[in-house]
Symmetry: C2
Subunit: 477 residues, 2 copies
């Protein structure tokens, strides 16, 4: 191992190879579900250094196959599926992209930006904004997560309804493959049909096929106005109807559609009393809508009010309020984003990140709620998410009088099985936007089509025959 | 071979295996650049039959590796790169998806439709329209091309600016892989991060990794109005500025932006005298703009006129006219679509389907025009395309006094090299929307990154180790 560590120090400089001290920032995952032990944390400063690191590991591994040395690429370490932290073998090298954080280039006429993998999402957003352009990727972790990590797990977020997942915002990649070669695939092209779609293969592969070192991303003109509304609804069916109406009336102007169940909001009211929730404490569901407009705020408000009037007339909603100011709009979003923060304050819970077709979502929730109540009387459902994408964070909280830790110990597997079986009946996904990592790799083997799994394994073996890159994540060989 | 043909007849019925008679509809490519000889044309009626056919061929091939038997999937046979017709070996079986043409399902609440691969694009569009929904994939061949073919080569067309390529409209696939197994990947999900992106790997692989048998596609609400305008411009730089302005003012309302050079339009005027062109015969460039509006025609017209006024004020355009009626709008589009029809009437020419970043397109054309004039004095440039996507059909016509056939024989390779070298300098693509097929497979080896080509070959070998599926296309082993 020492020779390998010496090589790494030679490549990036001793100051950027960590082997001692407190490495928990790299070894422990975001949600503190796992703590591994790294052989080293290596922090390259350039694509060339990344390539040299991978090559050095590949050569070492080929000489000492039993060493079990492998690489775990890591960005902001905000992943939710334990996909970017080392296992506890002490043989994995964390390849941190943090130092590669440059915004390389903005091409305003082409509406693109090229950024390095370690660039924090918020910094990329700000870079675009300074050019009066919009990078429409946004999520709660944007102050810490990095573009490389967003790409590696094809992150979703709150603007997917209009702009798609990270995948849809990426035009080109620079990648160091498992052989340590650089694929210069950075492209500002909207059309390029020259062979297999390697870009989308690396996006979402969670570092198991290679290391993304930079990307060219799509930008959009900044909308002239962005308005936010909060509506109260009698049921999820009504939310689906409201979504259809909003899509017809606002077209692509509809840039946000977040649904929140009553219990989820009650947790925010309980644990963040300082937040002023809109006055619908008894509404079974609330929806946060966002309307982006290329013309003006007045135009946006007119369209938005027209939509909400129609929705009231048609009985889709019982009431609604359009934010009067930017600060009120921010407050609405803040409430939405406080749900996942309120949950742990209520106690440990079982999280799911599932999707089903929008047309089936109400029936899915009804059936699954009933099955859960049947299985565990009094269980509480924290239900919220990106309804426009069919994506729910369908989380399960212990009954009021049950100890949360005991609940988890006793019921976690049972609840997961029940929810994922239900998702499968509704032709849904057990991981909508968080990825697989090591957390769901076993469940994937259970729920994913064997034909698809076999093809995934064949691709992994073809592109990473040494199983050097983030082994055991996404797909096990 | 006879035993294989007997198996195929057993699978699909004798009436659906053609070996004799005039098979030119399947053996000759759309642009009549190549004529092959098929061992047979097989026309399955179901996914199961497709799977049986592939399996039968795989088994036969494994027993008789020297037979060289392979499969060429084919949809509407409208491809432009000789990718779906057999070679002249007499050992390739054309697997025609024509009989699998069903529109299986429309899910209006989920905004999706599921169609079989052999469904003609126009029929899919009409199916969506009957549900008051929009399938925003549109191209000149839509009356003949099929969804499977569109997916196999990731077709582009005229609505890419707003809705993306075929890839961007597909949520899920049903695929028969090279082992004859069915991957049931039909999904109506907007978010699904459960492993490698097999969907996008099959999309654009031109039948070389497996056979797409069905797809779930995204739909959109029909816009309330769609308006078309025609503008005259002094130069391509002005067109790029107009594009930026239109993107800022119309946002996602801008659904079409087609640029046409003066010589391209003069060919339409010459060969289709019955078409009434807008009165800008001396404008160096014209642009056709389309504005789709979720509200009303009046609203659309107001926005559109506002845009064109600003463009006039800023000197982006010299004049413009908004179509007063649907029939005038159709006429504008008809003129645009007549350019590729007018070209052959002027004589054989050298076609390119290239893309460069929008910001570089004017300089690319200036430099490449100059180089071509330098190389072949008097050469004429038919320049038109989807400027919003950076995609030009940059075609080269013989000088007025030169015989077209002689021009091609003498200059085709020279012109291709000159144009593709220039594209490469501008970080562009030598095939923006048509694909690779067998026509460009050699050029791809010259212009594509060797690292990317090696990864493509590794994937091809991993998923199709027998090289059974459309061998020699896209990537040669």
């Amino acid at each position: 191992m020492q020779t390998l560590l010496d090589s790494l120090r030679h490549i990036v400089g001793s100051a950027h190879v960590y082997t001692d001290g407190d490495l928990s920032a790299w070894e422990r995952d975001w949600r503190k579900r796992a703590r591994g032990k790294a052989l080293a944390v290596v922090r390259p400063a350039s694509t060339d250094e990344v390539a040299q690191i991978v090559k050095a590991c590949a050569v070492f591994r080929s000489r000492q196959p039993d060493s079990g040395v492998s690489l775990v690429p890591q960005g902001g370490n905000t992943g939710l599926v334990v996909g970017a932290t080392p296992d506890d073998s002490g043989r994995q090298i964390v390849l941190s992209l943090q130092r590669m954080s440059a915004l390389r280039h903005i091409d305003a006429d082409n509406l693109t930006m090229t950024v390095e993998a370690g660039c924090v999402l918020q910094n990329a957003q700000q870079g675009a904004e300074e050019s009066n352009l919009l990078l429409p990727l946004s999520m709660a972790s944007e102050g810490s997560c990095t573009i490389g990590g967003n790409l590696a797990c094809n992150a979703g977020g709150t603007q997917v309804l209009r702009y798609g997942n990270t995948r849809d915002l990426c035009l080109g990649l620079e990648v160091v493959n498992a052989q340590g070669e650089v694929w210069h695939g950075l492209s500002g092209l909207r059309k390029d049909n020259t062979g297999y779609d390697l870009r989308d293969l690396f996006i979402g592969s969670e570092g198991t096929l290679g290391v993304i070192t930079a990307a060219t991303l799509k930008l959009y003109p900044q909308p002239a106005a962005r308005l936010t509304a909060w509506a109260a609804l009698p049921s999820l069916e009504h939310a689906v109807r409201l979504l259809g109406l909003a899509q017809r009336q606002l077209g692509a102007g509809l840039t946000g559609f977040e649904v929140m169940g009553q219990f989820a909001l009650s947790l925010v009211a309980k644990h963040f009393a300082q937040l002023r929730l809109p006055p619908y404490p008894h509404a079974p569901y609330c929806v946060l809508l966002e309307n982006s407009d290329p013309l003006s705020e007045a135009h946006a408000r007119q369209q938005f009010e027209r939509l909400l009037e129609t929705a009231l007339e048609q009985g889709c909603i019982t009431d609604a309020v359009v934010a009067e100011s930017l600060s009120q709009a921010r407050q609405f979003w803040h409430i939405r984003e406080s749900i996942p923060l309120a949950q742990p304050l209520e106690g440990l819970n079982i999280k799911h990140d599932i999707s089903v077709p929008v047309s089936g979502i109400a029936e899915f929730v009804r059936q699954t709620d009933a099955l859960l109540q049947q299985a565990i009387a009094g269980v509480r459902l924290v239900n919220f998410g990106h309804l426009g994408d069919g994506n729910l964070h369908y989380n399960v909280q212990a009954p009021q009088d049950m100890d949360a830790a005991a609940f988890l110990a006793r019921h976690e597997e049972q609840v997961n099985t029940l929810v994922f079986d239900s998702v499968t009946r509704f032709k849904g996904s057990i991981s909508a936007e968080h990825g697989v990592g090591s957390l769901k790799v076993g469940q994937l083997e259970k729920y994913k089509s064997p034909v698809a799994l076999d093809m995934m394994r064949a691709i992994k073996r073809a592109l990473d025959p040494q199983n050097l890159m983030n082994p055991g994540r996404v797909v096990r060989l």
